[in-house]
Amino acid sequence: MSDETRRADDTGTVDETGTGLAGGDLLTRWRSVKERESFVILGTVVAVLLFPYLFARAPVVSEILQGYQSLAELMLIWGIFVIGFDLLHGYTGLLSFGHAAFWGGGAYAAGVFAIHVSGSPIAMILVGTTFAVLLAWVLGFLSLRRGGIYFAILTLAFAQMLFYVALQPLSNLTGGDNGLGIGGSTIEPLLGFIPLDAGVPVITMFVDTWMYMLIGIAMVVTVAFAYRVLNSPYGMVFRAIRENEQRAEFVGLNVWRYKLMSFVLSGAIAGLAGSLFAIQQARVPVESLFWTTSGEVVIMSVIGGVGSLFGGPIGAALYLYISNIVQGMSEVVLFTQIDKLFPGAQAVVLPEWASPAPYWHLILGLLFVLVVVFIPRGGIWGGLQSIGSRIGSRFGGDR
C-alpha cells in the first residue's frame, strides 16, 4: 500500500546514518517483496509443507511438541474456519456468534451428500461450500438488519435453531444426537483413483497423505482468495464500514449490500472448512452446530489476532494444541533426546503433580487473558509482527 514512500524513507535514513548499506538495501527489498501477492501465497505453501513435518515427524522438535499428523490436519481445517470468521469480524467489524451454522451446515451438507449421492471429496467440498453460501445469504439477509450486539444475538439464535433442527426434526437425515456417521469407506478416492490415506510420492517426508495434501491445498486457496478480497475494492470498503458505517453510507456506498457480501464470503470459507472437517473425520458430530463451536472460533481468532490473515491459523493451532496435546500430557519429560547430544545424559521426568493435563482449560484461559490484556489489537500474530519490525529497525535504521 505504502511501498513508494516507505522505500524512499528507508534509503534516506540509510544514506544518512551510513550504517551497513547492503543490509539496509536487502531489508528494503524484503519489505517490498513481503507485501506482494505471490510472496504471500508462496509463503503459505512453504508453511503448509513444512508444518506437518516439523509438528509430527521431525526429530527432536516433534518429540518435544508430541504432535501427530491428524492433529496437524485439524489445525489447518480450523485455521481456514478462523480466516473466514475474521473476514467478517476483523475486517468488516461484524461479530457473529453463529458461525457454527456455516461450519456445521457445510459439514452436514457434505456428509449427507456423500451418503446419498456421491462420496467424491471434491464434490463434497463443492456441495458443503455451496450450501454454506446459500445459508449465509439467508441468515445474513435476516440478521444484518441489526447492528452490534443485536446482530451477534441474532446470528447466535439462528445457529442454535439449526442445531435443534439437526438434533430432532431432521434426525433421520442427520443422525440426531449421535451425529452423522459417514464412514471412511463411503468417502471415495480423490479424483476417483487416489485414496486419501495413501502416501504422496516424492514429497512424502513433508506431506504424508493425500488427505493432508487436500487440506493443504484448501488452505493455500483460502489464503490466496482472502488476500485477493482484502486487496480488492471490497477490502477497503469492509474496513471503511468497520471504521465508520455512517460515513461509508454518506460517501455513497451501499453499506448493506457490502455487509451481506462480507457475510456470504465469510460463510463460504467457514463452509469449506466444515466440509473438510466432515471428510477428515468421516463423521459430523452434532456439536459442530452447537454454540460452543461458534465460541471456539471467536477465541481462536482473538488469540491469533483479529484482523490479520495469518493470525487465524496461529490461533487455531494454539487452541487445538492446548485442548488436545496439553490435555493428554500425563507425564512431562524434559530433554527427551539429550543423550544424542551428550552421551550418558538422562532425560528428566517431572513428578506427576507437575503434569499440566488437568489444568488445560486454565492454561487456555490464561493464554486468552494474557493476549487480551497485553496484545489486544493484533493478538499473537500482531505481537510477532511488532517484534519483527523492532528487529528490522535495529538493523535497517528507522522503520
Partner: protein
C-alpha cells in the same frame, strides 16, 4: 438540538435492501432548474413540529446558508434532505426529481454530498485510504461485484483520491493514520471525503464547530477555494455569523421550524424579525 435527539428513535422507513433505483431513473444531464427544492416540507416528532412547511429553492451554483437559534430545526432539515429521516408531509426534489423513497447512499450517488458536524472519518485508515474509499464510491457507484480484482488496477480511483487530498492540502500527510491528525486537519479530511465523491451539491453541517480561530480561518479559505474552483452549490448550516456573511449568496433564517426570513446577507443583517428571533434584539 432537541430535534436531533429525536431523530434516533424515528429512523427512516425505507427498506435498506431495496434495489438501486438511482441508476435506473438517473436524472437527465442537461437539467437547469433549481438544483434542490423542498416543497411544503413538514416533519413532526410526536407533538413537536420540527419542520413546518419549509419551501427552499436552491439554484445551481448558489451558496445558501441556513441559520437560526438552537432548536430551530436546521439539523432536521439536513437530515430530511439527506434521507436520514422521512418527512411527514411534502416533497424534496433534487435535480428536478423527487428523492423521497431513496436511500441515503443513493442520494449521494446522485450528486449530493455531506460533511458532518463532527469529524466523521475512518480513523485507523490512512489519510490516503480515507480519500480512496470516497473516490471509489464516486467512480464505481454504490455497489459492484468486483471482489476478485486487485485494487491497484483502479488507477482512476487513485487519481481522484490524490486530486482531492491536494485540494484540501493533506497530500503530504497521506500515509499517516487519520486518527493522528490534529482536529482541524481531521475536519479538512472530512470535507475532502465529501468532495472526493464528486458532488454537484455539498451540505455542510457546521463545518467549523469546535475549531480554533486559526483552523476556522483555514477552513473558510478552503470553502472559498472550493467554491471558486469547482463552482459547487453549497447548503451551509453554521453558527458563526462571520463565516455565514462571508461565504453565502443567500441566507435562510429558521425559527421554530419555519422560515422567517430569506435574502442576501445585507438584507438579513437589517431584518428586524431576524434580530428579534435570532439575536434577541441585539444590534448586529
Amino acid at each position: 438540538m432537541a430535534s436531533t435527539d429525536a431523530t434516533e428513535s424515528e429512523e427512516r422507513t425505507t427498506d435498506a435492501s431495496d434495489t438501486d433505483r438511482s441508476e435506473a431513473t438517473a436524472p437527465p444531464e442537461e437539467y437547469d432548474g433549481p438544483l434542490l427544492q423542498t416543497d411544503g416540507l413538514v416533519k413532526r416528532f410526536g407533538g413537536l413540529t420540527a419542520t413546518d412547511d419549509v419551501n427552499l429553492d436552491i439554484e445551481q451554483g448558489e451558496r445558501v446558508s441556513l441559520i437560526g437559534p438552537n432548536g430551530a430545526g436546521k439539523s432536521t432539515i439536513i437530515n430530511l434532505i439527506t434521507r436520514r429521516l422521512d418527512p411527514t408531509e411534502g416533497d424534496i426534489r433534487f435535480k428536478g426529481q423527487s428523492i423521497l423513497g431513496l436511500n441515503p447512499h443513493e442520494v449521494v450517488q446522485r450528486g449530493m454530498s455531506k460533511s458532518f458536524q463532527q469529524a466523521s472519518i475512518f480513523p485507523t485508515l490512512t489519510v490516503r485510504q480515507n480519500a480512496r474509499v470516497a473516490a471509489l464510491a464516486a467512480e464505481h457507484g454504490s455497489f459492484r461485484f468486483n471482489f476478485f480484482r486487485h485494487r491497484d488496477r483502479f488507477s482512476e480511483v487513485e487519481g481522484v483520491a490524490r486530486e482531492t487530498l491536494e485540494a484540501v492540502g493533506l497530500w503530504d500527510q497521506r500515509e499517516s493514520p487519520a486518527e493522528d491528525l490534529p482536529y482541524g486537519d481531521k475536519r479538512r479530511l472530512e470535507i475532502g471525503i465529501a468532495l472526493a465523491a464528486d458532488p454537484d451539491m455539498l451540505l455542510m453541517d457546521e463545518p467549523t464547530a469546535g475549531m480554533s480561530p486559526e483552523e476556522t480561518h483555514a477552513t473558510v479559505d478552503l470553502i472559498e477555494e472550493v467554491k471558486e474552483e469547482r463552482g459547487l452549490t453549497f447548503l451551509l448550516v453554521e453558527h458563526d455569523m462571520e463565516i455565514v456573511f462571508r461565504v453565502s449568496d443567500r441566507i435562510v433564517v429558521l425559527n421554530r421550524g419555519s422560515v422567517i426570513a430569506e435574502g442576501p446577507p445585507e438584507e438579513i443583517r437589517e431584518n428586524p424579525d431576524v434580530q428579534d428571533a435570532y439575536l434577541g434584539g441585539v444590534e448586529l
